[in-house]
Amino acid sequence: MSSTQTSQANKRLEHLSGHLVKKTSRPGFLGGDVVVVSALRTPLCKAKRGAFKSTTTDDLLAPVLEAVVKQSGVDAATLGDIVVGNVLQPGSGAVGARMAQFYAGIPYQVPLCTLNRQCSSGLQAFLQVAASIQSGLYEAGIAGGVESMSLTDMSTSVPDVNFERVSENALSKDCTIPMGQTSDEVATRFQVSREDQDRFAAASHAKAEAAVKAGKFAEEIVPVRVSSGGEDGGEDGVTVVREDEGIRPGTTPEKLGGLRSSFSEGGSTTAGNSSQMTDGAAAVLVMSRGAATAQGMPVLGVLRGAAVVGVPPDIMGIGPAVAIPAALAQARLRVEDVDVFEINEAFASQCLYCVRELKIPMEKVNPNGGAIALGHPLGATGARQIATLLHEMRRTGKRWGVVSMCIGTGMGAAAVFENEAAAK
């Protein structure tokens, strides 16, 4: 065999072996990659007594809508839709959200809708925009969420239903159980001790405190201007809110151990190991891969899988334990492949149960604290978690991240994101 022939054969062999590589990239999720270009949130403030206690949802939402447009530099007129999650405002605050869009300078030609899937509304908004992009309806949109728990009352939001019939159907009846009691039920049924819950809650505060000290949240927080004074009798003025209010430095399991159970006699769920009532908003700019590439947008994260599942309403807190594996299956990943989990801390009991059930190492869970320290503005939480997760992954160079939460009336939602910069 001549040397020419040998080099020819080598070339062909090399060529052929190129056909046999196990591809390194992940399969496209449904109809093509959907990417997050910008993800930002307001500070999260204590409901009823915090900086946003009299701030309406339009004023909370507008700054984040404006900020994601500004940060990305996208032409707002090219947005295909804005979807906003909201739980407590009447009619999910559809009118207020549309008004906020105009405050943010987004032209009226861009449509907007609001939606409510309880605590996953912010994630659901994102998934709706992602699905629309994947089905080719448009190339770019904003997903977000907003909640004012100051101006609404969760405890009085009793549904207008046929209670005679509800009482005859066990599952329907379970939908009336207060969330705190479902937490106690999870703790009892799956043996999550009060001590473990308090330890978990204290850790949430400690992690959030550390994150604040390290200035980590600065990248994801959009300062919000609110009018101060007025009703308090002080002088009228404008205050700029820049920081989260819920974090209690120095929280220890021992201190939390002294709190009384909040929801049922002898229950382990307390105000200290539950999420806080909070006001806030978040927004995520979502684009098709093609549009992001064409416009030279930075890609913060790529959606690789998502799932919403149903679970028994009386133990609704277990939702993430079912939703996370379903979303990971879509992304063809295992729990151990994931580097960071943002699992909403509705209650320490349910979050801890899910972490244990899925055998997630604790250091991967909510590295910057969760809703116990930061608060849980219901409709905004999903979008808030996306912002916190993607900034954390970018900072730390982690590749795979998961956002998940439990949902009242018995559901769980989860989404898997990839930080492509970490794959290279």
């Binding site: 022939q5 054969a9 062909r12 052929l16 990239s25 399969p27 093509g32 080719g136 098709s288």
Partner: protein, 349 residues
């Protein structure tokens, strides 16, 4: 075609042991391509290459399905270099072209008495990966090469009519549109699917200067992240194209809106080597893969979404060739590196 006939069929594998071929022919070298004659329903051409096409000779077989249903050889031509593809002439029932690893193209006539081609062209500077005859104009054919170019030929002309450059890296297929004589597609190493128009001069690119289209292609679709090994036009819808590649997926494209694929067909465990759309059933296509399987895809009972309808795992090596019979709906042929040519009848048609 009745859509119900799909559903009556036993899908995906056909039960225990998988489907059984109607006829099998063993070749001397590894098979690279198979194509049914557009004139004689019993006839098929098979291009083969020695030592997996890496080194050695090639042989162009012409086979026939005999009255007994078995495959037999009626002619074969030995070549110096391996043959990677072949296609039948659309004007002369006895002629066919072979794509050679040495960059040459050879036009054979089954009726000749010697072993030489009736025409021979040497223009490509690297392996020719694909040849495809224009089924509308019938007077020309395309060749695609690892040298990165696609050439248009008239069998009566001593040199190529045009050369189309634009791909970076190898081109794996140049396929004429089944409906427009002047349109063709190409795909290759660079992950792109390109649509070309032979009415436009090949120098179109330079005249456009820094234009948005590359190398004279009228459309460039970023189809796969890795190499695109095969592509075909839908035979019923002008704007639909399928691509398959090293990333193991098959994608469906609407050329009017190519920013995202219309759909995916997942299932192959390794690169999709070749895919062809059915001339008989809208929405049906076949694919063969390095995973040693041949699969047929089409609308399924699940809301009519495209999915796997049939699969054979008879081949024991990479499957390289695939064709749909033009006169006999449901009849397909496959061939592979196990040196076998198999003819099948799909359980739906």
């Amino acid at each position: 075609m009745k859509r119900d006939s799909f559903h009556a069929a036993n899908t995906a594998g056909g039960g225990l042991g998988g489907p059984v071929p109607d006829a099998v022919f063993q070749t001397q070298f590894q098979c690279c391509s198979v194509e049914f004659s557009p004139f004689q329903e019993a006839r098929l051409a098979v291009a083969t290459a020695q030592y997996f096409g890496i080194i050695g000779n090639g042989r162009q077989h012409i086979l026939e399905i005999g009255p007994d249903g078995n495959l037999r050889e009626i002619r074969s031509f030995l070549t110096q270099e391996g043959l990677y593809d072949c296609c039948w002439s659309e004007t002369n029932q006895n002629q066919l072209v072979s794509a050679s690893a040495d960059g040459s193209l050879k036009l054979w006539d089954v009726m000749t008495s010697d072993g030489y081609p009736v025409a021979h062209w040497q223009e490509h500077s690297a392996e020719v990966s694909s040849v495809h005859w224009n089924q509308v104009a019938k007077t020309s054919f395309l060749s695609a090469s690892w040298d990165g170019s696609i050439k248009l030929w008239d069998p009566h002309h001593p040199t190529s009519l045009s050369t189309y450059c634009g791909h970076t890296g190898c081109v794996y297929a140049g396929i004429h549109s089944p409906r427009h004589s002047h349109r063709f597609l190409s795909c290759g190493t660079d992950g792109s699917l390109r649509i070309w128009d032979t009415k436009l001069p090949p120098s179109h690119a330079t005249s456009l200067a820094l234009g948005r289209v590359e190398g004279g292609a009228v459309q460039v679709v970023r189809a796969h992240e890795g190499e695109v090994l095969s592509a075909d036009w839908d035979k019923y819808q002008d704007f639909l194209v399928y691509t398959g590649g090293v990333d193991r997926s098959i994608k469906m494209w609407d050329l009017r809106r190519p920013s995202l694929p219309l759909g995916f067909l997942h299932g192959h465990g390794y690169a999709v080597r070749r895919l062809k759309t059915s001339p008989h059933q809208e929405g049906v296509l076949g694919s063969v893969s390095y995973d040693m399987s041949c699969r047929v895809w089409g609308p399924t009972r699940v809301r009519g979404r495209a999915g796997e309808l049939w699969r054979c795992e008879e081949h024991t090596e990479f499957v390289q060739g695939l064709d749909f019979h033009l006169f006999w709906p449901g009849r397909i042929a496959t061939c592979g590196w196990d040196r076998r040519v198999c003819v099948w009848t799909l359980p739906f048609a």
